[in-house]
Amino acid sequence: MKILVGYKRVVDYNVRIQVKPDGSGVISDGVKLSPNPFDEIALEEALRLREHGVASEVVIVGIGPADLQAHLRNGLAMGANRAIHVSTSDVVQPLSAARVLLKLVEKEQPGLVILGKQAIDDDSNQTGQMLAALWGRPQATFASKLGIADGKATVVREVDAGLETLEVDLPAVVTTDLRLNEPRFIKLPDIMKAKSKPIEVIELAALGIVSGDHLRTTHYAPPPRRGKGVMVKDVAELVAALKTRGLV
């Protein structure tokens, strides 16, 4: 079985992003970029399935500009067999990303697609569900446990009410939650090995994806700040303050 993994590059999760004073965007110059943490979890899960003999090949997909290749090399160093770089300088929103992935699914015929549940830049949490819809296949989102047997996946999902278990027929789309696994660290020899692994480049336009139905972002703003509070010296003072506000 082949597994297709979405591998997006995002602003590192430790960066506190700043909005430009004129509201035209966020300050991205010189900001550290990293693989989307949920996508690293997706790749780790695919690699483990390959190591357990469930999968035979792990293919990562990235959508972005020419310099995305260095990012894809990270995923190859982590252990993916090969990468597909869908090349575009446009910002690709979830519906278009799902359409791109559908084209690649049709070409690659994977038994399983694993994506992060959300990218920590736009926080949309849409692409996996959209791909599953367009593909007409099952989805198991927010996975914290994944088992594959007899052409089916059993997935434990982190939902508001607790942990839900679903059984889905393959092929299917699984999106990862935080506790599915802990991604491995990349070792130096693997970085060397990754240099010879193939990256296939496909122009976005060559896939025939037209992106006319997008949300247009008209303004960026910083979030309202909460006023600086006060430090209290002890429990008695805290309780008195809460009573003043009528909270206890």
Partner: protein
């Protein structure tokens, strides 16, 4: 004229209060507001939805396949029911997050995630980068607007004077069988629901163990509060994942939030910044949680929490 369809979230025959928050959001958009109830036995949920102020009609679909909320099963029904509507909304809970992108893709439209504010019927404010930036997005004209509603940004609609009519709907839609419910493991608790509670006490990594978390439960019970946790506490196995508050967990807006032994990573802060009053107890005076806390107390939580509980008891 806008026609807004809200997909009801429900569990065990009860309407989730998140649906009433979607009604408030829909009222801000303006227009007819209908609620779609997809269930095996929808009557009680439909009646609860019909009682909400602002709802003009409830469409109730009884189908055995709807006994569990499976996105792949519900999505084609929502699409069929959405014909003629300008907007389709659901709460930005795990239910709505799972379902609505599938609906949007079947309709061939983009989705607005975590709708916080309505500028007009096509323009909305939503958070990105863990809430560190808010963007105004414009949905394309002439298309259905599909959105998930950030529940912490909207109050619950109250009960109306007269209930809205309930219409039973039969949808002729082929439903897939490729997705099957197996089980739900739910920590049954008599405490208030984390997402709708007016008071929440959360614990962090500093608790040190699942055993020590009983301090948090005890304080919460004194206050009649729900219990939450930071990602660090969930990752460490102190509490189950459904208690996680933050960017990738639950976004909440209680009147009172107590953060105990939580340092305050930006991913956690984004889950609580709509809280009315934030109290932080932490031994590290430099912890970022104090930057957004209304009241901060520096000290040993193992001493202060029992003291606080006693003072409030």
């Amino acid at each position: 004229m806008n026609k807004i369809l809200i997909v009801a979230e429900h569990h065990d025959g009860k309407l989730n209060p998140a649906t009433a928050r979607c009604v408030s959001c829909a009222q801000r958009i303006g227009g007819d507001i209908e609620v779609l109830v997809l269930a095996a036995t929808p009557d009680a949920v439909a009646q609860a939805a019909a009682a909400l102020d602002g709802v003009t009609r409830v469409r109730s679909v009884a189908h055995p396949a709807n006994v569990h909320a499976l996105a792949a099963v519900l999505a084609p029904q929502v699409v069929a029911a959405a014909a003629g509507f300008t907007h389709v909304l659901a709460p930005s809970t795990t239910f709505g997050k799972d379902l609505m992108p599938r609906v949007a893709a079947l309709l061939g439209v983009a989705q607005v995630s975590d709708l916080m504010q309505v500028e007009d019927a096509q323009r909305f404010v939503r958070p990105i980068y863990a809430g560190n930036a808010l963007i105004t997005v414009q949905a394309p004209g002439g298309q259905t607007v599909v959105a998930t509603v950030r529940t912490a940004s909207w109050p619950e609609a109250r009960a109306g004077a007269t209930p809205a009519p309930i219409e039973n709907l039969v949808l002729e839609v082929a439903l897939p069988t490729h997705t099957r419910f197996v089980a739900l493991e739910s920590g049954k608790s008599d405490r208030p629901d984390l997402q709708s509670a007016s008071r929440v006490v959360s614990g962090g990594r500093a608790l040190g163990s699942a055993e020590n978390f009983k301090l948090i439960y005890a304080l919460a019970d004194t206050l009649g509060a729900a219990v939450g946790a930071s990602r660090a506490a969930v990752d460490a196995g102190y509490v189950p994942s459904d208690m996680q508050v933050g960017q990738t967990g639950k976004i909440i807006a209680p009147a009172l939030y107590l953060a105990i032994g939580i340092s305050g990573a930006i991913q956690h802060l984004t889950g609580i910044k709509d809280a009315g009053t934030i109290v932080a107890i932490n031994k590290d005076a430099e912890a970022p949680i104090f930057e957004i806390a209304d009241f901060g107390l520096v000290g040993d939580l193992f001493k202060l929490v029992p003291e606080l509980q006693q003072a409030l008891g």
